[in-house]
Symmetry: C2
Subunit: 459 residues, 2 copies
């Protein structure tokens, strides 16, 4: 790959397709369009590719993923792509007992009931069955056609939960689940969107499982490797450090502009998170409906934290490294050690309100918060990691949050039909536009394939 700054005057010859954003969606689109014989240019604001996937290399050479990382069954498009690129997968560590902290007491469990007391288990079980049943009826291409869609879209997951769970602990537990799945709080999310998202990934059970679920496996070399290899294939077509700040459509094409210069393209793919689309000046201006759609898709708030240890010491005590607590800021942890177990890596998420509050702290205080929660779960050995890394996705100015955007109440009903509808010569990609595995890496790949087919049909 030889990315370089792209400075070129308005060209006499038109590029076939300009792609805004070199994440999984944009790069997949570029690759597919080139395969279809079209000329592509990919413009990326940041100095790297991969979007919401990002590798970090610890001092000992261990590569970890500080963005999206997992892959699981039915994520067929991501799996096929990784395969083509020669990137293997390996199972996430999922052996041993898990931990849950309830009312200040740590419990071990190894069944599917999360160590919940019986009344809570029943409460959560009944609610989950109801959720799975409702989710099963949401048509992925047209969620607004689901039974009672208008009503479901008019309330938050929080108010639905309050009505449908009877136990305090059950509600707290479901909050942890929602925050783990969305990095957003039950207050933020339309109940219809919650159901759509569950159906999009198969089932709630599927979204929350490690083995055989959405957290089943990891990609060798780290998830960013997928984007790195696609960019390498695309070579000079990928331009880093080149934010697109304007898209001006005429009958002939689209003039794509930024401080780096400008170029003309027959079609444009916008493959960036909805929260940063407003940074582009569109001419003619986007319709009011489109602008409001983007304004009603706020991102979640996640800080992903990892601590490296000499050894995955929790395994020695029969623990899987998976812990959860409805009370702690670090509400969810995973064993994220390398496949060969050459060192131990503990992964924890600060999500939603926890992340927001932690983002206001100093780096030192935040690390202390994370490490002391790890200590509470896994004992004093967790106290002194060899290395620590964290990634605040909301602070990234070209991304603004993670894992993905969610639809606020009223948005599916009011604006959903615009999600994939081209605006003239401009097409929309990104995981948020995918009916299947929406919000996941697989959804991003699918959106790139879909948009490429859309354009290849028209050029």
């Amino acid at each position: 790959m030889s990315p370089r700054r792209y400075v070129r005057p308005v060209s006499a010859d038109l590029t076939d397709v300009a792609i805004v954003g070199a994440g999984l969606a944009g790069l997949t689109a570029a690759r597919e369009l080139r395969r279809a014989g079209l000329e592509v240019v990919v413009l990326e604001a940041q100095d790297r590719v991969g979007g919401r996937t990002l590798n970090h290399t610890f001092d000992d050479g261990t590569v970890v993923e500080v963005g999206g990382q997992w892959v699981g069954p039915t994520q067929d498009r991501l799996i096929a792509l990784a395969d083509e690129l020669g990137i293997g997968t390996y199972p996430s560590w999922d052996e041993g007992e898990h931990l849950i902290e309830l009312s200040g007491v740590l419990r071990r469990y190894d069944d599917e009931y999360f160590g919940l007391p019986l009344p809570t288990m029943i409460d959560v079980g009944v609610a989950q069955a109801r959720i799975e049943r409702l989710a099963g009826r949401v048509p992925l291409d047209t969620p607004w056609d689901a039974p009672a869609a208008r009503r479901l879209d008019s309330e938050t997951v929080a108010s639905w939960t309050r009505r449908n769970l009877r136990t305090r602990l059950g509600r707290d537990f479901l909050r942890v689940v929602v925050e783990a799945v969305f990095s957003a709080e039950p207050e933020d999310i339309s109940m219809l969107h919650f159901l759509f998202y569950i159906r999009s990934g198969g089932s709630l059970d599927n979204l929350t499982r490690t083995s055989c679920g959405a957290q089943d496996s990891r990609l060798r070399g780290g998830s960013q490797e997928v984007s790195l290899r696609m960019a390498a294939e695309l070579g000079d077509a990928v331009h880093l450090g080149s934010p697109v700040l304007s898209l001006a459509q005429s009958a002939e094409g689209v003039t794509v502009g930024g401080y780096w210069g400008q170029l003309d393209a027959a079609r444009v793919v916008v493959a960036i998170p909805p929260a940063v689309i407003p940074r582009i000046s569109f001419a003619p201006a986007l319709s009011g409906r489109r602008a409001q759609l983007h304004a009603k898709m706020p991102p979640g708030y996640v800080i992903k934290c990892m601590a490296r240890y000499q050894h995955p010491f929790w395994r020695d005590r029969g623990l899987s490294g998976q812990a959860a607590s409805p009370e702690r800021p670090l509400a969810i942890t995973f064993d994220n050690s390398p496949a060969d177990g050459s060192c131990g890596v503990m992964l924890g998420f600060l999500e939603g309100g926890h992340a927001r509050r932690a983002s206001a702290m100093s780096e030192v205080a935040r690390r202390e918060l994370v490490v002391s929660d790890l200590e509470a779960y896994f004992g004093p050995e967790a106290r002194e990691p060899l290395e620590y890394v964290e990634q605040d996705w909301a602070a990234e100015e070209w991304i603004r949050g993670g894992y993905g955007a969610h639809l606020a109440p009223g948005t599916w009903i009011g604006y959903g039909s615009l999600l994939r509808e081209p605006e003239g010569l401009i097409h929309w990609a990104g995981s948020e536009t995918s009916p299947v595995w929406n919000g996941y890496m697989d959804g991003a790949v699918r959106s790139g394939e879909r948009v490429a087919a859309e354009i290849a049909d028209r050029l």
Copy 2:
């Protein structure tokens, strides 16, 4: 006033304060800061001042307001400002019987009960009393400290309404009220925000009243006249057609940039709607929390429509011109004729989903929709207006919606404390930042005064 394009190299001498946006908030701030002896530059993206106020002159010379227009008791800062600028007020037309359409039947009423059947009246009355009581307990400076704030912020007005109103008609009626007050739907709005907003304007009764309420009076010459006169006073300091696209802070000040050039300022006031703040590139990048706050303040959707007739013919039949319907797209109308009654102007609002759907129509079809609803309310004479004008605020690329922004569920609790908190040398104004008359012209003026005091204290 002699506005001109502003092109100036980075200056050796610093402007004291650069103000982004020449609406009521920005212009008030500029005026106050200049009074405090400071040098100001106001940069406005559009080719006009006034923000969400805008006059339209019909062919016969009648001036009407296609943006914010009314002023009422306790809007003291706007009233004082208009007074200083020599702009008088006159009462909105509020004589005659009002119309309400219920289950397809038009009823006249002239009391405070909106012609509702008794059970509905009781239902709405009880709910309103509860709303007023809850609203009365919301502290305007810190709504997150209200009793049960977390719970109220975790649900939408729609889900609260469903639980608290027993009759279908009562719920439908409340929907019309919410949409008339916010131009957003009950699905979109946090219940805590709804209560805050009501308290901010005194009471729900106050917000919905014409005489002695928020729609009491109009400004002579149209509401934009306030901004036009402030801009005239400020003269060369106001620069039109000058969108601010970048704000770069250093220890010494802020470099303000755009295609028009750049300038240095000691402090900056951002006085534009939250939805368009993401169009500015900030360096250093805004914090994740700040960026997410803006992402969680979507604007309402309103198309304001006016039809001019030879004569306010509805008055002859004893009608006030005020009509409402839970079923019609044009859910609310007013008599907006000039003070001297020299012609008749009928004003109707398309709000929320009605506006969104109407915005997708052709101009001809939308006018037909509006005129046929006017005909349904006021009879065949409404069929042929002499002139028609409409303003879709969501389509305005530097505004993106109206009347104002509302806070989505979870936003007050999660982000509310950032609303007026300066980010380094950057201060925030605009009606959405005002504790009093939030979302109204008066709130905009108050926010301008507040931000000017904030800065004068520090320079």
